[in-house]
Symmetry: D2
Subunit: 344 residues, 4 copies
């Protein structure tokens, strides 16, 4: 299966490249980067050894006129928000399936997109066709989609623990409060003083309060699951990690809950999902356990003193939160085992 | 003023030593450590230079028979929970004032102590005499106390943003949800595999859910301020920092709130407190701004979409969360400027 | 091929377990750990997911009476120095091949062993039979060995850049000065206060000067290559990384050298070695490029002002410096492609 | 004493500001930054609290026409290399003394400057007037200088351990090999992708080999001390620390040496220097012991196997390696105790 990675100079694109290079059913037909066009990938990414299948791959300019002529069946877009939309339309018209890692096709309602992203959506017609690329929620739709919009890293870490409980009407959706901690790669590979080592090391800080853009897709999906309009509280923080997200969610139950009843709902929802690990009500998740893995891990507690349920999740923002999830969707779109190329 | 530091081998004791050595009105009469007795402090702590006033200080065994004979007026106890209580009573009987950094004298109700600490309090009679050493709340009582129980690091970071709003009946106390992130020094200098560099670096994890011991003092103080029994939700996390705590609190307002009305309450409460900095409703706190400082910084938002108020605070767990706060109390107990020896 | 991992609670043993679990030709017959006997591996190591082949593996006591009855053909020993020797002899007697990651069988001369390790070697007769497990130097001997002593992490990082130039008589061996920087996992998973996060983060320090134990094997191998007795200068440092070693070596040339003549020797020596990457005389090695990889990377310079040659190398101390190299040897001992299970 | 800090947006300028604000004999007359002109310092630097003397200080444009009219007696230049030279001349002409933290006035020989900095020196006449601001070597000259060129951070860490032994003719200067490890703040506050958190964390790398610019001043000073032209070997490395430099030097003795004879020379040289701490031949230096301090610490060994002497030093690159050393010079230029404002 011949594929293209469009925009591979950022952290998500780099992770895509690393993992697709090891995917046994993939041939890399094209690797683009405005910044690195003409360079060998191995001169940009030091982890590409001489015996890697990528040893002689070169970056090219992202050329919409050229891309369709390369015999590519799939294009992974790892472009900045706003840029991806320009590429998707012409690719789809030529019959190339698109897996987009940006936020451009995640929001179904152009009004919500405008509210959170502060501009009109460039191709609103495509919003209806795109499928939200969270396999644990939309596996069937993904399998027959031509355009998949991979979820953000925060949304993945929040939706995976919430969706089964919201669907089961076990928690009051208006009571949901999600706190998340993200490693610095989540902010992208940008030459920004605030992201320098000295500014982030021995630093930890909340940001993006109260209306972080990822709220739009979180609320869209929780609203769908709840069957009613929901507003979520979401507080992101930057902490000195390379990779990883920890999310801790507090919510009030509709009726009295036990850890066992929560566990039953989770097991019913996720026992066939190989990339979800249920840690139960005694263990704690730790980002180091999922670093470089496509696994999300979920633990839970019921606070007998307050009655609230506490949900915890961890994942690697560049894998299950980006490139790994994209490849999982790609496998599903091809009717393959969804774990190919993604380890255990 | 001649003082003793009892139990100075941990991180809080070390920080006390570092700061009291620079305090212009203090003479160090005694420095104890079971582990290091007989050693020079400069052989244990590499930061003590040859020209430091501590260059020739030695650790001694903590000897309750000897301590009172050294002409000491104050004893700082930086001992493990449970051990401090044994020392306080005999010292107080000899007229030595005690500033305790452990949890032993923070809880007024022996039943609450038993519930959270899993054993009977050894000297419950002293609980009534102790004053909770949060100067911004109890300055007057501290000024005439013989026994001050310094608050924990998490409680300081949670109470400082909450108390003014709870006292002003602006937030529903039952709705309070506090998420905190702590640097690893908060776990103490313990030879524990879970605290090794390799286990904590590139790691982040929730722990102590839902009933962390610090809840006992947090709820005691919020209950006092609210005038009614309150249960708090509290979620601590360990992140790869040497020092620092970030707390983000969500709560529902009693009546509609604005960032300005919150700001007015804060300014009324804290404008005379030199170690509180109000960042307002636009800036974000960052632990690196308060590292090595006795300052706590507070920022706030009102989420117009959910109606909730969001409070953020940062402090250095070893300074405003431990040793610095202890010295602030000490200055107050002596009727001095409370900032002596604590920088700006 | 049924194998045992004996002593899998340390960092090297954990890395062996992780990689052998993915090795397509290996069946894990036995996993021992005194500390964890009776526990499931997935309860000790958080990275083992429910769908991992290790999901149901348990640790057992290391039992020399039992091990030979399990049908095991190979035993990987990841035991502390001194303990491995006790296990090797009985295993070898039963026809089980041994790949030892400790220092116990690296030194050929019992007198050198005694000098550096401060005690008599327990089974000196085995020293003659063991092969030093550096495939790039001893591939043929490894292929027919029954006992392989895997090199230390520092020695691997020092020998790989030095051996070709020493063999070619291009550098004066008495002039060799090696400086190395190691991540903290190199010190092992020990509950030692000096290895706590707070003690290692924002810390960097030389140690083990001037007679670090690894000198014994470095000098043994350089002496062999030089054909004369050599003394090396070696300065190790601990830096705040989880994994990785950087080595920078200075040496005086025998005759005038160019970067090209150095490059020719390296290419002749290593062009068929898939785990050596030659970076040449312009690029710099970075431990992040080889983290989690079995690759060692080498760069070089000639200082026209001083005439000295400068050699730089990086590797992952837990992979090419320990578990990866052990598996590379294991593959060679079986006559397989030496890269199986080791990535690119 | 009214002073100006010219160019205070980088790490060295920020450190100067923090420390001069606490200096009891200093009035800050002017604080410039092109980038931040018009902003309050407290809006740029989060560590400036409301009760700080800097609470209301503003950045201004660096205006050479205006500076002399402000009644300033001293100007600290924390400008990029090349820019400082433009400011020094007009300031000196108006009788304002200059303490320059850049490399612009460190090199006496314009030819050496050209060789290492790749352009002609803009005001070579000033090179003769400047004094190299290493108080332990040039205290008397500094005391009567109008222009002091503060040494670089690497040179300070290399010269302090070397100068006494070179002056005493105890080591062969041609044999000197210095390896240094630097925290990332040494690279400056630059929006450079290579300095991002994700690029530096879990990374360690040599760079600038073999001809790092700092060699020019190191060799100049060693040559002066040796009384003959000397070439030094110097290998810098970047490691994931915020601040700190570790240097390990190997050299051959002229005649046989002992740790005691080395110690005697050091004690004779440094016993009156309050910012030098001699750790002797058993302890190891650690950057965490000198972080935020103006102290440099020195340890040494003699390797009985190779005959070489090993010197180790640590310092904080922003304090003894930059701002602290500048203030130490400033105190000396004023005839004050050189430790004022610099702690113990």
């Amino acid at each position: 299966m011949k594929i293209a990675i469009v925009g591979a100079s950022g952290y998500s694109g780099e992770e895509l490249l690393k993992r697709l290079a090891e995917h046994p059913l993939v041939e890399l037909g094209c690797l683009t980067s405005r910044q690195h066009a003409g360079k060998k990938a191995s001169d940009v990414f030091g982890w590409i050894g001489d015996h890697s299948p990528l040893a002689n791959v070169e970056f090219t300019e992202p050329d919409l006129a050229l891309l369709p002529s390369l015999g590519i069946a799939f294009a992974f877009l790892a472009l900045p928000h706003g840029v991806a939309a320009e590429f998707a339309s012409p690719l789809l018209e030529r019959g190339i399936k698109v897996i987009d890692l940006s936020a451009d096709f995640r929001i179904k309602d152009p009004g919500v997109y405008r509210y959170f992203y502060k501009h009109e959506h460039p191709v609103p017609a495509l919003l209806k066709k795109s499928v939200y690329g969270l396999p644990e929620a939309y596996r069937d739709q993904i399998s027959c989609a031509a355009l998949v919009a991979c979820p953000g890293c925060y949304p993945t870490s929040i939706l995976l623990p919430l969706l089964p409980l919201v669907r089961a009407r076990m928690i009051r959706s208006s009571s949901i409060i999600a706190n998340s901690l993200s490693g610095v790669s989540g902010a992208g590979r940008k030459a920004d003083v605030d992201l320098l080592f000295v500014e982030c090391n021995e630093s930890a800080r909340p940001y993006g309060l109260p209306g972080h853009r990822h709220l739009s897709e979180i609320e869209q999906e929780i609203t769908n699951a709840a069957g009613q309009q929901v507003r979520i509280q979401f507080a992101p923080h930057l902490i000195p990690l390379n990779r990883g997200i920890v999310t801790t969610i507090h919510a009030e139950p509709v009726d009295e809950l036990t850890v066992d009843s929560v566990g039953e709902v989770y097991h019913a929802a996720y026992d066939r999902d190989r990339f979800i690990r249920l840690l139960g009500s005694h263990r704690y998740p730790d980002v180091k356990d999922v670093a470089f893995s496509n696994r999300a891990e979920i633990a839970w507690r019921v606070d007998s003193r307050t009655g609230r349920v506490i949900l915890m999740s961890v994942l690697d923002n560049l894998v299950k939160g980006a490139a790994g999830q994209a490849i999982q969707c790609f496998n599903i779109m091809n009717g393959w085992d969804e774990g190919i190329g993604l380890g255990t």
